[in-house]
Amino acid sequence: MADLTVPSAPVIRSATTEAPATRIALVVAAFGFLSLFLFLPLVEVFLEALRNGPAAWLAAISEPDALAAIRLTLLVAAIAVPLNVVFGVAAAWAIAKFEFRGKAFLITLIDLPFSVSPVIAGLVYVILFGSGSLLGPWLKANGIEVLFAVPGIVLATVFVTFPFVARELIPLMQEQGSSEEEAALSLGASGWQTFWRVTLPNIRWGLLYGVLLCNARAMGEFGAVSVVSGHIRGLTNTMPLHIEILYNEYNFAASFAVASLLAGLALFTLLLKTLIELRFSGGLAPSRGH
């Protein structure tokens, strides 16, 4: 008698699709990891901040030293971000549109702040501008304060946040090539006209994205700023430094209050970034570095 087992229908699945169990496991693992290491701590920050009620929270962030720290943080970001926009656009332009000797070196150089510890970046400025350095006596004689003053904090922040704009724009500009610029030039546009009317509109969303990331980092930078700031309350303390000082004084409530404000700024930045992505996903480079 013949074997009458019906052959089971073949499971048709596209080559890149995993079995449902694998998919669920991966998604759960990703979410689990993120909740444990990112989401829970973030929630904790806000809970701790509001432990003594909204009045205490408000008092902690409107205390003069806290206000000074907030002002300084915003000031530093307001200087460092535009500077890095100019440097970043210039560097990305040079790398994406021209061929020149030392291009690979320049790209490596742009990544340097990512690979060097921020503390080292801070120390470099101490060595460069400190009283024992070559520049130190001259600066002192001319009454220019760099270290333990706002200029030093700005410099350290610029150093640490340099790659964000450039890194965002390089792949985008490389992908776009230069044919639109060539078209503009052949139609009689000057270099500046070409930049403002053709290049900039083409990179605007990528640029905005880079600016947001750069801004988030500029406000949150701790290591490099800590080394050059000198921790002078009400003068050279940025928000992250202020948070640390409060924390070290066991003033947890105030520390977390300011921390929640900083985290809130970061979340707001992230929200903006997401909105941009949703709205203009087509204009951003598909091969993003972050």
């Binding site: 639109e180 060539e182 078209a183 503009a184 052949s186 139609l187 009689g188 546009a189 509109p201």
Partner: protein, 375 residues
């Protein structure tokens, strides 16, 4: 505006892209630069536009040395292969761009720019599409916007880089005819680059065939087709059959066997025997009765207007394809006697057949015979 290109050389990273190229283009002419990829045709076009600078030589616009003019000052209308339309501008803004960037003194009023752009959009048959963005247009429509944009600046010369390269066959054909008509109406001096020899032959007043950074031949399409100056041109323009032969005492030998074509007064040495697939006669009777080239039929295909035979020829079994009228149908594996009725011999000069120098190009690969053999 007539163009003169004099002894232009261009190197990219030490690799020469153009060697000592000279070319004159008359005012109002429609010229095609045709050649395989890497032949330097696009480089030459970009040099004319000023998008590249030559390492040596000069480009003249009329009497002016264009090397002294920047891209902006050359007033060339350049149409890019992938259109390069400004993505964030509407069709109207794209077409008007060249006028809006003019310095204040020379800039037409916003109204004039608008009118001008609209009339050009009408000329390229895109009325009604003024407010669309490039992403909302088809390939052929984008190409026409690019053309209108280039014409808006009243160019002295219109330069088109592979203008139909990215379009499908039917759109290509329509646009080709349309461009020819447009050229006849507007009369711009026009140079376009293409790798499609058919396109070049159909569209251009004069065709410039390029290979390996040199101009191989310049001429009217029929002249180039009928009297190719080199084996390369013969091969590149239209179909051709090529057999490696050896000349010895005025006799042409294929694999050592003499064939019934004469090359009297030619010095001994190797040569290429080149002819069109349809310029052949065959004899189906035993090859002994007519001393043509011995051939065996490998395959026979019917292609609507006639029959294409794939043959193995000579002792070396060289593969060649010939076209026969529909009523002749020799069976596969049968032996034939074949001889070209119109043919050309090309001589390599020395060992530099594949890398000819331009000065010697005319003499070293010269057609020495172009004749009909009595049948």
């Amino acid at each position: 505006m007539d163009l003169r290109i004099k002894n232009v050389r261009k190197d990219f990273d030490l690799t020469p892209a153009l060697h000592d190229v000279s070319l004159d283009i008359a005012s109002g002419e429609l010229v095609a630069l045709v050649g395989p990829s890497g032949s330097g045709k696009t480089t030459l076009l970009r040099l004319i536009a000023g998008l590249e600078q030559p390492n040596a030589g000069t480009v003249y616009f009329g009497q002016d040395d264009a090397s002294r003019l920047s891209v902006q000052d050359r007033q060339v209308g350049f149409v890019f292969q992938h259109y390069a339309l400004f993505k964030h501008m509407t069709v109207l803004q794209n077409v008007g761009f060249g006028l809006t960037v003019r310095p204040r003194g020379k800039r037409p009023t916003a109204r004039e720019i608008n009118e001008r752009a609209r009339s050009l959009i009408e000329l390229v048959q895109l009325a009604g599409f003024e407010d669309r963005y490039p992403s909302q247009l088809s390939g052929g429509q984008r190409q026409r916007v690019a053309l209108a944009r280039a014409m808006a600046i009243e160019p002295k010369v219109l330069l088109l880089d592979e203008p139909f390269g990215a379009l499908d066959a039917q759109v290509r054909k329509d646009l080709r005819r349309w461009l020819r008509e447009l050229h006849d109406v507007t009369g711009h001096t026009t140079v376009f680059v293409t790798h499609d020899q058919e396109e070049a032959m159909e569209l251009a007043d004069r065709v410039v065939v390029m290979s390996r950074g040199r101009i191989e031949q310049v001429g009217a399409p029929d002249a180039i087709y009928d009297t190719p100056a080199s084996a390369f041109v013969h091969r590149f323009i239209g179909e051709s059959v090529e057999l490696p032969v050896y000349i010895e005492g005025g006799m042409i030998r294929l694999d050592g066997i003499a064939i019934p074509l004469s090359a009297a007064d030619e010095p001994d040495g190797p040569a290429a025997l080149v002819f069109r697939p349809y310029d052949v006669a065959i004899d189906e009777v035993d090859r002994a009765t007519y001393p043509g080239i011995a051939a065996t039929v490998v395959a026979s295909r019917w292609h609507g207007r006639g029959r294409r035979l794939e043959l193995a020829v000579g002792a070396g079994g060289h593969s060649m394809e010939i076209d026969l009228p529909p009523d002749v149908a020799p069976p596969v594996d049968s032996t034939l006697s074949v001889w070209p009725t119109r043919w050309t011999l090309y001589r390599p000069s020395g060992a530099s057949l594949s890398h000819p120098t331009p000065a010697a190009a005319a003499s070293m690969v010269s057609p020495i015979q172009q004749m009909a053999v009595a049948q």
